[in-house]
Amino acid sequence: MANHTIAETLYVPYLDEKGILSWLLSTDHKRIGIMYLISISTSFLIAGISSLLMRLELIAPGKTIVDAHQYNVLFTFHGTVMVFFFIVPGLAASLGNFLIPLMIGARDVAFPKLNLGSYWLYLLGATILLISLLKPADTGWTFYTPYSIKTGTDVILLTTGIFILGMSSILTGLNFIVTIHKLRAPGMTWHRLNLFVWASYATAILQLLATPVVGITLLLLIMERVFGIGFFDPAKGGDPILFQNFFWFYSHPAVYIMILPAFGVISEIIPVFSRKPIFGYKAMAYSLLAIALISFLVWAHHMFVSGMSEVAATIFSFLTMLVAIPTAIKVFNWTATLYKGSIQLHSAMLYALSLIFLFTIGGLTGVFLGSLAVDVHLHDTYFVVAHMHYVMIGGTVMGFFGALHFWYPKMFGKMFNEKVAKVAWALIFIGFNVTFFPQFILGTLGMPRRYADYPPEFHSLHELSTIGSLILGIGVFIMTVNLLRGLTNGEKAPENPYNSVSLEWQVPSPPPHENFEKIPVVTDYPYVYGKKNTQEG
């Protein structure tokens, strides 16, 4: 690895050029990745604050800080921003952009200008969202008809913003698929790709196949409000359930757009900090594709109580159970990778382990909800809210925080304070469970979601949940400050602080503009730790 000693004199880190325009006009995949990272983190923090306000309202029965309408606005804002501005573009666009070319040994993505265009579309969508806040929508993030057609709030602007984000998402996915197909370094066969690249590939397929459908759905919703076209209006012969079918045909695969990159992330973190090859590489790669495929066949499990034939419901319930198989393969293989490994509890590893633990709870409660009889009882209760957050925070956000801590030295060339990072992790882990575990109990007791008020018998559990959310909020705050402080006060990061064998760690920290002085020739897959153990073949 001594080959860039010659290049040392020419080495210019990609972060060196200063000025806002050098960022906004940059086609460097690493800069675009960092811009996404800043944007999605900001969205996450803002939407997180709105959820703290909701929890504060729910700390006691009756009106506390907001009224019912303001509460509806808050959860709509929280849902739309978290889903469409943070978690869907999230890991795929930020980490995907930064890492994919580095991992496959390319200098950039296939279409760098298009890549920048996608980011501008994201900014445009975000701007439109901000304008819509003059008359903020109160429909929930699902925009279910007929309410979304009747409400006087600004649904049109908000859905237009999301439509534009959809275009951004499609173009990013397209770019990544072409990049992974066409720009791999010599010797980088499909079975030598990082699992994060496989995860990004599966995600990109979902982005391409599902997003256009939500695009047309939102367009129809807009047209319904503007021209009264009546597709979703029973008075005009339309069908409100059609909206739900269209919406979930996208939004269920979108759940996997959100989670698959996080699966990819921890498949990178766990081998490095166990000093062992990933267990069952091929099973891990193909289970990602299997999840992507099955995700298209399960959308109606969101609609068991919306009215559908019993036969259809039974089929969708069965297909939903199928998702458990490839996801369980992943959980088993991560665990098997840990088995007899030399485990280092780096902060990134703590987040990865949290993901395995919390996602398993989230996944198993998903099986409850996929079962017809149980779902009728639990539908639209806090049980669903808790399940969803165990998957999205316990899964995606843990993966996101893990990735931030793991690739931070590579992205910024600096180290953060590891002790503070661990304290923040502990607060986040405890705060998360204290917030959401009581919600499972609340849900089974019958507490419906999306209400600003509740009967007094739910008081203590709601209060506990609010206390948990504050601990979670403090944890995220400490983590953010710690990472930001690292940028200015952190020590200089070495090229490869964890002795990873993966390709992105073989370039300087931060990497130069063109990534590689010379395009590498790859001879093995990126998990060769401990004894020589090649899964290749």
């Binding site: 279409f111 072409v178 391409l208 339309g238 269209f246």
Partner: protein
């Protein structure tokens, strides 16, 4: 660490190999066309559902549509696809001027289609047949309207390509944008070929 050897592969600089660039651009466009079909797919699904539900309404109301104008537009678009394909083949043989002429014809066909459609829409509005009239007309205006947007996008792309060609950017060796732009135009044509019978020729 030594498992991944970094060796010189003699590929310096940022330039992607033109062959890779060509196949990447083409692959990218095919993927994009797939997403376009899925975008229309939602409307086709809605069409299937509502036609099954309201077969008689569809039959009655399709009579309001002008089959002659629709047929003319179909011919115009198919012809424009032909001139587009001829344009691609012309530049592959290095005939830059011929490409310019063929692009102009293709663009004019697109404009003719739009003008035709303008009169068609105008006549519908005069008879108070609007997107709010019925599910059939909602579908008609949504499907043809969305298609019309794609025709405009196609015309814009072809105009940009025409300008670049007049500046001498394309040759027998380099014509990827023409081929990829052509693919897009063919999709616009293809979608219309499905829309025409589905809306105008129901029996």
């Amino acid at each position: 660490m030594e498992e991944i050897a970094m060796e010189d592969t003699h590929s310096h600089g940022h330039q992607i190999d033109p062959k890779v660039e060509y196949s990447a651009a083409k692959f990218g466009m095919w993927l994009f066309l797939g997403t376009e079909i899925l975008l229309f797919g939602g409307l086709f699904a809605a069409y299937a559902i509502f036609r099954a539900k309201y077969a008689e309404l569809f039959h009655e109301q399709h009579k309001e549509l002008d089959v002659t104008l629709g047929a003319i537009n179909t011919v115009v678009l198919i012809f424009s696809s032909l001139t587009m394909a001829m344009g691609v083949s012309a530049i592959q043989r290095g005939k830059r001027n011929l490409l310019s002429i063929l692009l102009v014809i293709t663009i004019l066909c697109g404009i003719a289609f739009g003008v035709n459609k303008y009169f068609e829409y105008g006549a519908k509005f005069e008879h108070h047949l609007t997107p709010g009239t019925s599910i059939f007309f909602a579908l008609y205006f949504m499907m043809t309207g969305l298609h019309m947007l794609h025709v405009f996008a196609g015309i814009t792309i072809l105009t940009v390509l025409l300008v670049l060609n007049l500046k001498g950017k394309f040759s027998a060796n380099y014509n990827t944008p023409i081929e990829v732009g052509g693919l897009y135009w063919h999709l616009v044509d293809l979608i219309w070929i499905y829309l025409f019978p589905l809306l105008y020729l129901i029996s």
